[in-house]
Structures are given as structure tokens and as C-alpha cells.
């Protein structure tokens, strides 16, 4: 058994878990945070993307024990109460989701992308989504939503 001490969405959590428990299992099964999804269990589809110490990682290819001592943000922790994160709002505004299954991972990746590259062009957005599969949208509106969120961020920054 391994001890996992993490801060998840701002809340400190301490649990004893099986050594082989994956981070995504810890989030979904131990903590009940089922917004993070499992689409492939081999690190390709990106449905399980969460933030670990502020960077996007795939929770299906990391042990829960490895995450001990970290701060984790999942899709459930992104909105401030009822107020959506700008990327969440842009996904809705631009119809960037259909079945919704890839959406949490896609949004977490997009937030990370805009943190790293605040003003990406379309090619950069597309390249940075290589680790996230969507089977419904053809990515068209996802790319649009991320570009719109970036543009909005620029507007906000310009106003400040």
C-alpha cells in the first residue's frame, strides 16, 4: 500500500491506496471525481487529462503514489462556483462538444495550452491537441473555441 497526500481542487486529501493504483483510478474511484474520463488507458486519447502542479498530464499513465505531494486540478475544480472558466465558456459558446466524453480532458489541455502559449495560431492549436482525441466534432469547433478563448484573454489583458 502507498500513502497518497495530495491537494485536489484546493482540498487536502490523504489516502492509503494499492501501489498499482493509477492516478485516474484514484480520482474517479477513491475520490468520486468522475469528470476525468478513461478513453484508452494507454496515454493516447487524452480523456483523462488533469493538471498536476499547473501542467497538463495524463492521469491514466501515472501512479497515484507518484502524484503524492502534488496539487491537482480536475475539470470539477476549474469553474469558480457557477462562473465558468473562460475556456469552458468558449467550448459552450462555440459548440465544441457533442457527446462530452473527451471534453474534460480537452478543456484541461486547452487551458494548459493557453497558459503556455497565450496567442496560438490555428496550426499551433491543432498541433497541441495531438494528445487529445475527439470522435464527434472533427475538432473544427474545438479549435475555434480555443482561438476564441485566446482572443478573449487578449482583450481582457489589453483592458487591464
Amino acid at each position: 500500500m502507498a500513502e497518497v497526500n495530495v491537494k485536489v481542487n484546493g482540498r487536502a486529501v490523504s489516502k492509503q491506496v494499492e501501489d498499482r493504483m493509477l492516478l485516474v483510478e484514484f480520482l474517479r474511484e477513491t475520490l468520486g471525481l468522475t469528470g476525468t474520463h478513461v478513453g484508452c488507458d494507454t496515454g493516447q486519447c487524452g480523456a483523462c487529462v488533469v493538471h498536476l502542479n499547473g501542467r497538463a498530464i495524463k492521469a491514466c499513465i501515472m501512479m497515484a503514489a507518484q502524484a503524492s505531494g502534488s496539487e491537482i486540478t480536475t475539470i470539477e475544480g476549474l469553474a469558480k462556483g457557477d462562473a465558468l472558466h473562460p475556456v469552458q465558456a468558449a467550448f459552450r459558446e462555440h459548440h465544441a462538444l457533442q457527446c462530452g466524453f473527451c471534453t474534460p480532458g480537452m478543456i484541461m489541455t486547452a487551458v494548459d495550452l493557453l497558459n503556455r502559449i497565450p496567442h496560438p495560431d490555428e496550426a499551433t492549436i491543432r498541433k497541441n491537441l495531438d494528445g487529445n482525441f475527439c470522435r464527434c466534432t472533427g475538432y473544427h469547433n474545438i479549435v475555434k473555441a480555443i482561438a476564441a478563448a485566446a482572443a478573449q484573454k487578449r482583450l481582457v489583458e489589453a483592458a487591464e
Binding site: 478513461v38 478513453g39 493516447q44 459548440h95 457527446c99 471534453t103
Partner: protein
């Protein structure tokens, strides 16, 4: 209030829960004390099972039970069925063999389940599954449909000689032979329609609960049609009577056809839950999805098209071998027959068509409907032929199509379908204009200067949606009716619930169905909610596939709304002391025409429930149900134009422009419809460029069983699409809707391949057009030219 009715780009009501991580998918549902199932699967494509020893697994920590096909047979759990009867040309019925949920004597494909381990935790079940000892005697396997019927091929089921399930034909052979005898030009083509894996990002999942005292089962599962699942599991598999079996399909993470079917795993979970006395949960991992989700396409075809001197098509002859895999999945038999050959007239006036289809068993996963189901295969045959013909005739491919378009409606094709309406010239013109088709030669020249080969390809597709009058499909062999049901419940305070037999797994029904109510009653969509996906809540329904939820599902809602409106008007007229004929419902109010008398919708609803003052012979309450059976299929159509650049040094293909012009009839929410097209295009482009399911020809091993091997379209493989719409409203349903869910996947593969072959100057190129294939095609073409 902003317009929220038909035609409005309303943002989706369901989005909030998905973007906040509050979706409720099958695997998310907490079930107290649920045990976990892990399946032991055949590692061989074809093998006799000589012995299964479960003793070590049973002794492993946490194990509750290990069950095999023998246990299943003891409990008289039936095999899964194929629900559409096809007869061969000679009148004999298809050679359907029941699909046992756990193989007992012979495993017939890699991944065929042979035992299930149920344990307290998933890891315990996984560990114990490795302790189940199965002795196999490997048998020779066949995976290629073209080789399955060859003499000496491994025989998969004793019931099906030469692995042949049926040899079916449609159309007038004599008329076609005559047409070819008189033809001035004949264009022929051999093609493979590549096998695909649907790959919904949510893997299939089932959680089964048995409550012994009541003898009641509940199944949470990833289904596109929970009522059909209940029907099959009850009436054919014999799990429980329908009223003792509740099937819930909550949020479902994409289906694309693969979640229509009834699979072994949910069947086994239900049975095991009762037999072992614990709730049993199973969720596929991705490799299991690759191994066991019903695959799509997999046709080998020879096609010939006969033309008159003026380039009018006078005949079409098609011979197809369709791979249905090791067992016949739920609707597999209908896909290469009535969903395929009936569309072989395309947008063209073809006087004589004859199609022959042989369906075969192979040692591969079952094949069934995948986005488009038969119609992409038909479109691919036709649109590849048209492009090749135009190039051979040295005329503009757009012109050849234009010359052959059907222009008078209704149009009876020689292959069953009767097109109600359409305007193919309009979608062609829209696509040509949007793609700046006329200026293509300049773009090609510019690309040439950069060392790139630029090509352009067209595809004019038609599809049949809203599958079709129950009586008609019944006469063609369907085991079910294809109507849809709806119930509209107006609550006492005026909110409205729409219960539908359609199922939303990304299509946005929670928004569009509310828009229909807003259009009719003038109430805000926030006052309306949609209930679906639960057999305990919804009376019955046929589910969502074949782009039927709008054309059929919403038509049922229209019927129920008509009845609600009629009753509410009767009550309003009574309360306002007016004649029923003078009552109008607009903007959420009942008004007496020509007066200032009015009543809010909610007040009439309340009056219906208080029932203090109702007209004579009027029952209390305001709730109506309806069943809608379509009069005909609907026929969406359009033109897609793809432009590619090929790097002749590497064979790499880049899509540089993709233009879609569709005619879906009346559109409820253009934003959602465009999204459906985008997704369909990505799947079609995926088929054309990237995706291919490969089994090893000798061993029958699935070589593309992970995302490292099966190439899914990624954002960087695609472009932003140019999408536009024209509309000829469907004439056979009340809303004029045609359906939009599959068009993108149907129309796009030939557009892509036509563009690549145009760039390379070659005729034949099979999908997926990988860099290796493209490079080889180009090199051999260059070498031939040099000789």
C-alpha cells in the same frame, strides 16, 4: 425573448454538465457493492476449446465466481441474434448462427469471450483472469472476405457452407445486361472499402443489478437504443421478462453505430449478477473495444458502369463481398443489402442497376452498422466510378455529374428507393462556388512551383435516413418496426417534459427537441426538458441511428404536441367562453382571435390539473403520447469537394481545403447540424487517409488493437471545413427534416480519394491512402509513364 424555435442557433442545454465534469456516463454510476467482471478472451482467431480449468482463478483473492459457456448453457441463456432476415437469390434464408455470449466449444475470433471472472475489485478480477487455464487447439483462420469463399478456406460454422451467409441480389439483371450490350463506354473498378473500428471515445460499459425478492434486473449500459436492448435480452436471450428488466443508457460518450447492438458482455453481466448474487460491473479497456466492438465497412467490390455516347449512364453492375465477421451482429445483415444496394442510384438517373452481394463469415470481430452503414460504401462505388469516367472521357467531373442528375421528383430508382425531393444542381453549384473550383488550375500551378502535387476531387452523395415505414422494412426482412414514440407531459405549473424513444449520445436532443416545443407553444426552452434513455420512464422507443431522431423522433413529438395543443385549446376555449376554432396558441399564450382575451399557457395547464372547470367529456390532465411511423425514407444529399497537396517525395497527403454543401431539408439548429457535418467529415477523411483495421492474414491476430497502431484522425490531420446548406424540405414528414448525422462520413471518402488520384494522375488507390500507398501508386505510375 430571443427566437428559440426551429432554425435558431441556440446554445446547447446539455453542455453545462459536460464542461463542468458533471456528466453521468455508465461507468460513473456508483453502485453499492458492485463486483467487477473481467473477461477471459481467446488469443486465437480460430481454435477448439478443449478444456477450461477455473480452479486456480476461483481460489484467488476476492474472486466471487468464474463462469464459462457451460454454465451459460446450463442456465439456458440463449445466443444473441441478428434481427434482419435476408434471403438469398435462390430463396434460402441467411445462414444465421446464434452468437453465444461465452464461447463453449470453438472460439471464432481473437477476443471471443470464453469465460468471465467476477471479483470484488477490478484488479483482483484481472489477476484471477490470468489464472484461468484454457486449452486451445488452434485451427486455421481466414480473415479476408475475398478469400473466405475460396475452396479449401477454413470453415467457420458448419451451418454456412463456404462461409457464405447469403448470396443476395437486387435489381433487374436482364435490363442491366442489355444496357451493357448497347454501351458505348464501360468504366470498371475494383475497390476495397476498408474495415474500420468505430472508436467512440467512451468504451462500452455495463453494470447489472439483480434484486432477488422482486426478480428484477437493472442494467446501466452504453446503448443507443435501450428499449431494443431490453427487447432482445428479454425475448431472445431470455434474461427476464421485459417488465422485470430495466435498461438505462444515461449519458453515452459517442456511438456511431457501435452502441446499437446487443453484445455478449452486458448479457453476461446480467446473468452473472443473478447467478452470483452481486451487482456486476464491466467496462471495456481500449484494446477490448478494438477486439469486440462491432466493426464497420469491409467490402470487396467489382463495379462497372455503362454509358451511352453522350455520357449518360445507362447501366450499373456491382458485385460485392461483405465481411460480417465471426458472428452476425444485431443488424449486420441489413447493412450490405438494404442499406447499401438501394443507394446505388446515387443522385443519378440510372435506368438499370443490378447488385449482387455475398455476405461471408470470417475469423474477425462481428461487423455491423458504423456511421453511414452501407451508404458510404454505395457512395464510394458510384463516386469513384464517376470520377474515373469523367477523366477517361476528358470532361469536367462536375459536368458529367450534372449531365446525369435526377431532376424530376418524385423519382423511382430501379433499386427500391423513391426519392421525394431534392435539388442536386443547387448543392453542386454551392460547393463549386465555395471551393472556387474554377480557379483550381491556378492553385495547382502554384503548388507545382513548390514541388507539391495538388488535386481536387468531388463527391455527390445521397443517403437514405429515417429508416422507413415499418410495413416496408418488415416486408424486406426487418425483425422490428421502425417508428418512434413520444410523450409530452405538461406539468400543472406549465413546465413541459418530452419523453422520447430517441437517444442522445452527442446529437443535442436536449436542445433541439425543446426548440420544437418552443416553436409550437412559444414557451422558453428552459421551461422544457427531455427525458430519454430509461426503459422505466419512456414507454418504448427504437433509439437513435440512421440519422432518424429528427425525421422520425421529432415527428412523433409533433404528433404528441398536436394532441396536447388540441386539448389545451378545448380547455382554454371553455374557460374563456369562446369557440375552440377561435383559439390561437402563440408566444406562450392562448388568445381568442380578434379580442383581447387571453390565458397564459401555464394557467391552462393548471386548469387541466385542478379540473375544477373542464369542458364536458374532457379528462383531467394534460399529457399525450404518440407513435409516428414514417411514410418513406428521407433523402439528404450534397456535394463535397476536397483539395489535397501530395508530397511526391514522401507520399504524404495534406488536406488543404474541404468544402461541403448539404441539403438536409429543414434544419432545427444550424449550429448543431454543422457540428454533425464536421464530425462526419472527420470520420470520412479518417477512413480515406488514416484508419484501417488490419488482421494478420495467417494468424488472424488484430494488428491494430491500440491507438499506437490504429490511426485516429487528430486535430493536426484536419482543416477547418467550409460547410454550407441549401434546403428542399422533405415532403413525407411534418417538419420537412431529412437528417444530418451521417452525411459527412458518407460523402467524404470518395472526395478525398478522387482528389489524391487527381493529384497523382492514377486511377486506382485504396483506402486508407497512407503515405506508403500514395508513394507507391505515384512511383509505379511514373515508371509506367517512363516505359
Amino acid at each position: 425573448m430571443a427566437h428559440e424555435g426551429i432554425g435558431a442557433r441556440v446554445l446547447r442545454k446539455e453542455d453545462r454538465r459536460f464542461i463542468m465534469g458533471q456528466g453521468n456516463y455508465s461507468d460513473d454510476i456508483p453502485v453499492k457493492n458492485a463486483a467487477h467482471a473481467v473477461f477471459v478472451r481467446s488469443p486465437y482467431a480460430h481454435a477448439r476449446i478443449s478444456r477450461i480449468d477455473t480452479s486456480q482463478a476461483l481460489a484467488a483473492p476476492g474472486v466471487i465466481g468464474v463462469l464459462t459457456g457451460t454454465d451459460l448453457a446450463q442456465d439456458k441463456v440463449g445466443g444473441l441474434i441478428c434481427g434482419w432476415m435476408i434471403h438469398s437469390k435462390d430463396g434460402s434464408p441467411m445462414k444465421a448462427v446464434p452468437y453465444p455470449p461465452l464461447a463453449r466449444d470453438v472460439a471464432r475470433f481473437v477476443g471471443n469471450a470464453v469465460a468471465v471472472v467476477v471479483a470484488e475489485t477490478k484488479n483482483q478480477a484481472r489477476d484471477a483472469a490470468e489464472l484461468v487455464e484454457v486449452e486451445y487447439e488452434e485451427l486455421p483462420a481466414v480473415v479476408d472476405p475475398a478469400k473466405a469463399q475460396v475452396a479449401g478456406a477454413p470453415q467457420i460454422h458448419p451451418e454456412a457452407l463456404n462461409n457464405t451467409i447469403y448470396q443476395w441480389a437486387l435489381g433487374d439483371k436482364t435490363a442491366v445486361d442489355q444496357a451493357f450490350a448497347g454501351a458505348v463506354h464501360v468504366v470498371d473498378l475494383d475497390l476495397v472499402n476498408n474495415r474500420l473500428v468505430p472508436n467512440a471515445i467512451e468504451p462500452r460499459s455495463a453494470t447489472a443489478i439483480y434484486e432477488g425478492a422482486e426478480g428484477r434486473f437493472t442494467l446501466y449500459t452504453t446503448s443507443q437504443n435501450p428499449h431494443v436492448a431490453r427487447l432482445v435480452l428479454s425475448a431472445f436471450v431470455g434474461i427476464a421478462p421485459e417488465h422485470k428488466l430495466r435498461v438505462v443508457a444515461p449519458d453515452v460518450g459517442g456511438g456511431f453505430g457501435s452502441k446499437i447492438f446487443i453484445y455478449p458482455e452486458e448479457t453476461v453481466c446480467l446473468w452473472a449478477a443473478k447467478r452470483l448474487g452481486v451487482p456486476v460491473k464491466w467496462t471495456a479497456d481500449r484494446t477490448e473495444s478494438f477486439l469486440t466492438d462491432a466493426h464497420g465497412r469491409d467490402h470487396v467490390t467489382h463495379a462497372e458502369m455503362a454509358f451511352a455516347a453522350d455520357h449518360r449512364i445507362i447501366g450499373l453492375r456491382v458485385k460485392t463481398i461483405a465481411n460480417l465477421g465471426a458472428y452476425m451482429s444485431t443488424f449486420s445483415s441489413s447493412v450490405p443489402t438494404y442499406l447499401y444496394a438501394t443507394l446505388l442510384s446515387g443522385q443519378y438517373d440510372i435506368p438499370a442497376i443490378h447488385a449482387e452481394v455475398d455476405a461471408v463469415y470470417t475469423n474477425t470481430a462481428p461487423v455491423d452498422a458504423y456511421r453511414g452503414a452501407g451508404r458510404p460504401e454505395a457512395t464510394y462505388v458510384l463516386e469513384r466510378l464517376m470520377e474515373i469516367a469523367a477523366r477517361r472521357f476528358k470532361i469536367d467531373p462536375a459536368e458529367l455529374r450534372r449531365k446525369n442528375f435526377i431532376r424530376n421528383f418524385p423519382h423511382q430508382t430501379p433499386v427500391i428507393m423513391n426519392y421525394d425531393t431534392g435539388d442536386y444542381e443547387a448543392t453542386l453549384a454551392a460547393a463549386l462556388a465555395a471551393s472556387r473550383y474554377a480557379e483550381f488550375p491556378a492553385r495547382r500551378k502554384e503548388a507545382q512551383a513548390r514541388g507539391k502535387l495538388r488535386g481536387i476531387g468531388l463527391s455527390c452523395y445521397i443517403e437514405a435516413c429515417g429508416i422507413a415505414p415499418s410495413q416496408a422494412v418488415g416486408s424486406l426482412g426487418a425483425g422490428v418496426g421502425l417508428w418512434e414514440s413520444a410523450e409530452v407531459r405538461v406539468n400543472p405549473a406549465g413546465t413541459i417534459e418530452v419523453l422520447t424513444g430517441s437517444h442522445s449520445h452527442g446529437q443535442g436532443h436536449e436542445t433541439t427537441f425543446c426548440q420544437l416545443v418552443a416553436e409550437r407553444f412559444g414557451v422558453p426552452i428552459d421551461q422544457v426538458s427531455v427525458v430519454h434513455g430509461d426503459t422505466d420512464k419512456v414507454q418504448f422507443g427504437m433509439g437513435t441511428y440512421g440519422s432518424r431522431s429528427g425525421a422520425v423522433g421529432m415527428s412523433a413529438i409533433v404528433k404528441a404536441l398536436d394532441r396536447v395543443e388540441a386539448k389545451a385549446k378545448r380547455i382554454a376555449a371553455h374557460l374563456m367562453e369562446a369557440s375552440e376554432a377561435d383559439i390561437e396558441l402563440k408566444g406562450g399564450e392562448f388568445t381568442v382571435v380578434g379580442t383581447d382575451r387571453k390565458m397564459a399557457f401555464a394557467n391552462v395547464a393548471l386548469a387541466a390539473y385542478t379540473a375544477h372547470n373542464l369542458p364536458a367529456d374532457t379528462e383531467a390532465g394534460l399529457k399525450e403520447t404518440a407513435f409516428y411511423d414514417p411514410q418513406n425514407f428521407t433523402f439528404p444529399a450534397g456535394t463535397y469537394i476536397c483539395e489535397v497537396e501530395v508530397d511526391p517525395k514522401t507520399g504524404e497527403v495534406e488536406i488543404v481545403q474541404f468544402t461541403a454543401a448539404d441539403d438536409f431539408g429543414v434544419v432545427v439548429n444550424p449550429m448543431i447540424v454543422e457540428g454533425q457535418v464536421h464530425g462526419g467529415l472527420a470520420q470520412g477523411i479518417g477512413q480515406a487517409l488514416l484508419e484501417g483495421c488490419v488482421y494478420d492474414a495467417e494468424s488472424g491476430q488484430l494488428l491494430t488493437a491500440t491507438y499506437m497502431d490504429y490511426v485516429m484522425p487528430r486535430a493536426s490531420d484536419l482543416v477547418s471545413f467550409g460547410v454550407s446548406a441549401t434546403a428542399t424540405p422533405c415532403k413525407t414528414n411534418p417538419l420537412g427534416m431529412k437528417g444530418c448525422g451521417e452525411a459527412g462520413a458518407i460523402g467524404s471518402p470518395p472526395a478525398v480519394v478522387n482528389a489524391i488520384t487527381d493529384a497523382l494522375g492514377v486511377e486506382r488507390l485504396d483506402m486508407p491512402a497512407t503515405p506508403q500507398r500514395v508513394w507507391q501508386a505515384y512511383r509505379s505510375h511514373q515508371m509506367q509513364a517512363a516505359e
